[in-house]
Subunit: 379 residues, 2 copies
Amino acid sequence: MAQVEVKAPEKKVRMKRSMIDCDVHHLAPVSAVKDHLPRFYRDQIDLWGWRLPGPIYLNGGVQGLTVDSTPPDGTNPLGGRGDLEYLRSQHLDPFNVEYGILTGSDYSFQASPDPDYAAAICSALNDYTIEHWTSKDKRLKASLFIAKQDPLLAAKEIDRIGSHPDMVQVIVANGAEKPYGNRFYHPIYEACVRHNLPFNIHVLTEGLGINTGPTGAGYVTYYPEYRAARPQVMMAHLASFIFEGVFEKFPTLKVVLQEAGAFWIAPFLWKLDSDWKSLRFQTPWVKKAPSEYFRSNVRVTSQPIEMPPSTELFQQMMKAIYADECLMFCSDFPHWDFDSPLLTFPKLDDALWERIFYQNAADLYELPARRSDQGGAEG
Amino acid sequence: MAQVEVKAPEKKVRMKRSMIDCDVHHLAPVSAVKDHLPRFYRDQIDLWGWRLPGPIYLNGGVQGLTVDSTPPDGTNPLGGRGDLEYLRSQHLDPFNVEYGILTGSDYSFQASPDPDYAAAICSALNDYTIEHWTSKDKRLKASLFIAKQDPLLAAKEIDRIGSHPDMVQVIVANGAEKPYGNRFYHPIYEACVRHNLPFNIHVLTEGLGINTGPTGAGYVTYYPEYRAARPQVMMAHLASFIFEGVFEKFPTLKVVLQEAGAFWIAPFLWKLDSDWKSLRFQTPWVKKAPSEYFRSNVRVTSQPIEMPPSTELFQQMMKAIYADECLMFCSDFPHWDFDSPLLTFPKLDDALWERIFYQNAADLYELPARRSDQGGAEG
């Protein structure tokens, strides 16, 4: 790779009130965890390489990242998320992040045809993240990777490490073989409920490896189309959870929809509610309106939020997606389309700011109140 | 099939101001056109049956239809759309339909692996519709079916019959092998532009036959999920048209999105516009913001429109989808989720009613002004 010359601007900001960032990417490539894998896979990797599906579409920014995620020496454009010190100085400190939920950087193994291999990588990765990240900064919490190709193996990994205090959710890529409400996946939700862990669906790997094509009309051509496809896939998962009755079977399960935007949820719920009213005799196990399940069982992170053309419409859309209950701020640090907590939203009233930037996430992940209150909100 | 006893209520209504209905299903099953097929296919059908992919999900209503689409004798639940007299008395007359755009009832041949067979059925069907429907009532206009499996064959059919005055658009099912902006389909758009015919994408056949699975996460389980998948597929097509540069290559091409709802378009365009702003260097042939292409080149029919929780939000959403320029009323007669022109919308101001219920469709399909003005609007 040609060296990219980039300079990180000085961060002058220091947010007054602390917040929870629900999507902080740390560099957790499978290459970093090779030594933690069983001998069998290390030998295979030496002989055949990693055999993991890689990206086929462009991305944005510099290798997908913001310029200022790169350490000032410019030698390593991927450095920002690989370096805890840099994460602290560029993100956690200036933006006064009380808790940052680490979401890793590589989900390709979840699209591998080999579930045993994927499970081995997940275990190594989960151990690596605790050892090298969360144990070194109490602000960091981790997402538990599973081999979703094999829900029973996935449940085994949740049982192995899911009660560790630094593990706050189970995470899967949006790309899938089947919509996530399908009964195939229910052993995962049994394990999530056993360990009181939310199930996070994070965009990535749509159309890669063993996953189905990224849209209901097959493969797209360009990256903006691919980005447009991600909320479509998330819609399929959300409808699936509701109409398969997952939230009746697992009433305490919480599902997090991450990095697919937020405002599409409003017209989507209007449609689901309306269809449920006229068709509920076909799915009698769906006892409540879809929007009620959404409010009780689903949470959404903000980035990259769509921006309505007027503040008035923005406020109405926030109500329509139940933002005060369901929306949680996240930055997607250090990706090129990072949302700054200072710039993402129009002015929010104080109570709503507090729900979105702290309390909704604190409630979901059972995180304590702020260590100290540092004054008024910026937002 | 067990006989279903249904009674059609008396229609008392007679709308004062006439309107254009952009989605009137007439019974146009392939079985009705067998005699019009070449001998080769008639022989094959006698030996092997029709070999066309059929529905795998439930539908709503009675065989998918409204109760009052059934003639009073109750003998033929499918009668409403198979009987021109009944269509007149139950729909065209009471709702004062100045023009009704016929959209057929069976699109399965567009998901057949055999493009020659599909093309033969299309030709027979197009001839049948002119002979048995549009030539018998000047209010009826027709949609031209094509074998989209083979865009060159499709263009040939458009050239054969596309200049007939009763043919007002080319129609395809939403289910597809590739998103419709893909260059594979461009010969179809050349032919549409040659004959000044809009390209209508009507929901149906998602996930059937040779089409890809109905979502970006594969097959769904239940019918409400399947309905939720349809706008997702439409989103994939819309993003594809824009980012593949179809509207730069064919600036006069108009695309109609039918029966996938309408308000999802607002947050979807916010997302596309925002991504275009930051990523336009990747697709330099996309010269305008996606919402500008939407306004100039895309039209949307109303049914089944999502219903926001307040009139205020409804009005803002109407603005956000450019309803005054882009939205066209349709009823989906005689399907169970039929939208009555009297009940579909909250009170609209007169000018907007006129755009949605008449002028936008008249402009698109180049239909003349009302034969006589019959007074004020109901809507």
